[in-house]
């Protein structure tokens, strides 16, 4: 029994520490996830090509390329936010965002902003679907009744955006992300 209690405490501790991270605000007071990355080993053209490929290939189901130049990529996207009960959960909504990528020789930056939340509701078939098509800006100040739930949404959104950012940086550094298949090692049993 003590191991179960220990397990529950660990989960709550992890959850609490996750909630401490939050978005920054830009000059206009909008929430923003902003990253500047040094990348001396990869050329500007390659970085730009990989950024485009990330949007139109890896994330093609949830992102749409809006425009691109020889030093920037503009895209729109959505990401699903999960509600967690212990270690299982279900989607609680989606966040739409604008994605901007700019590159110079030796470094690049990207940011996600204009984030809008659309809550999900379970439909008659047990699937979680958007309740509306009009999103609520993540910057809004919720009323007292919804403050707790909104805090969870912000925390969950940040975690998802941070994960997205990590995958993007990894892809631009190596042209691959963690979930790509590893080559299976071949073992010969003929000689030993």
């Amino acid at each position: 029994m003590k191991y179960i209690i220990l397990g529950i405490l660990t989960i709550f501790t992890l959850k609490l520490s996750a909630q401490q991270k939050q978005f920054s605000k830009d000059d206009n007071g909008k929430l923003i996830y902003y990253q500047v990355v040094d990348s001396q080993s990869v050329s500007k053209d390659t970085l730009l090509q990989r950024a485009k490929s990330f949007v139109t290939g890896i994330y093609k189901k949830s992102m749409k390329l809006v425009s691109s130049t020889d030093s920037s990529v503009l895209a729109k996207g959505t990401m699903v936010i999960d509600k967690t009960i212990l270690v299982a959960g279900h989607p609680s909504g989606e966040v739409s965002y604008n994605f901007v990528f700019e590159v110079r020789q030796g470094k690049y930056r990207f940011w996600l902003t204009d984030m809008l939340f659309i809550p999900y509701q379970r439909d008659r078939y047990g699937n979680f679907v958007p309740t509306t098509t009009i999103g609520v800006p993540l910057e809004r100040t919720p009323g007292k009744l919804g403050a707790g739930a909104w805090k969870d949404i912000l925390s969950s959104a940040y975690n998802k955006v941070e994960k997205f950012g990590d995958e993007f940086k990894k892809y631009l550094a190596s042209n691959r992300i963690g979930k790509m298949k590893k080559k299976t090692e071949t073992i010969s049993t003929k000689k030993w």
């Binding site: 009960i85 279900h90 509701q121 379970r122 008659r124 009009i134 609520v136």
Partner: protein, 341 residues
Amino acid sequence: MKKFLTAIFAMASTTCVLAQETESSPLEISGSVDTYFKYDFAKNPLNAKTSFVTDHNSVSLGMIDIALKKKTGKASFVGELSFGPRGQSQSIPDAAAGGSSFNIQNLYVNYDFTDEFSMTAGYMGTFIGYEVISPVGNFNYSTSYLFTNGPFQNAGIKATYKFSDKVSLMAGVFNDWNVYSATRGVSAVGGQLMVAPVEGWTAYINALSGAGFGGYGTIVDLTTAYQITEKFKLALNAANYDIKDSAVPGSYAGAALYPQYAVSDAVALGLRGEYFKFKAAGAVPETAFTAVTLTANIKSGGLTFIPEVRLDHNKDKPFFNKSGAAAPNGGQFSLAAVYAF
């Protein structure tokens, strides 16, 4: 308790392990719990002519509803069970268990052959109508005459093709209404055309013909909702049901309009105005109901309080007044608490 927690951890861990090996979504667990107090203005519980919210001057139970969903690759399943009056004796033809068993709300498997084409087989919430059994899926806590008299669930197999985000078509074959296994064979065909002409506006044109309530019949249904502004939403449900044997009572027609306005992030007000008539059948004359329901939704996290006032009218006096005499009007106040997780 220990075994229960261990089982949950084991199930979740298995899910995590599987997720690392295949394209697999985590196991989704969701559900709801609801309870209510209702006061009938004539102090007569028989004045409730639609589903659920039947008790008078009582803090009563709705149901606990638990749903599981899992997707692995292109295959997925949904299993949803409910326990409590709303999901059991008041909800289904649960005669075999005397209304004391659980109710399966959804139990089906789905396979996405492509991003556009999928097939589903099993027992599913009906595709007919605007309102549903789960209180989480409705704005009003009490239900409409259209909901009460239409199908709740359909067992069958259906194919859905999504032409675009704005148009999709479903067609399928089904058992008779609300049964886990067919009593008259797989004897109904149904279809649904979904169109979304502009952003925020979705319309479903539904038809189901075959074995149903009162024998064989055909129901045609329009369900549409339009989020006109951030705060204002308007929905409409209209349906016509004709039983093949015109001497059998049960054919109906009706329409319900649902304007809803969000006063704030946490508070929304909604009205349901409904006209509904049972058609004449043999010696049974036509009779018509009108009903107006004013509802508020007050949300705090997963909890929603739903105070509601409902007034019903029928000139044929199916209601009762305080002295027990037949009356043309019925009225009730209810306060429900619904928690969704």
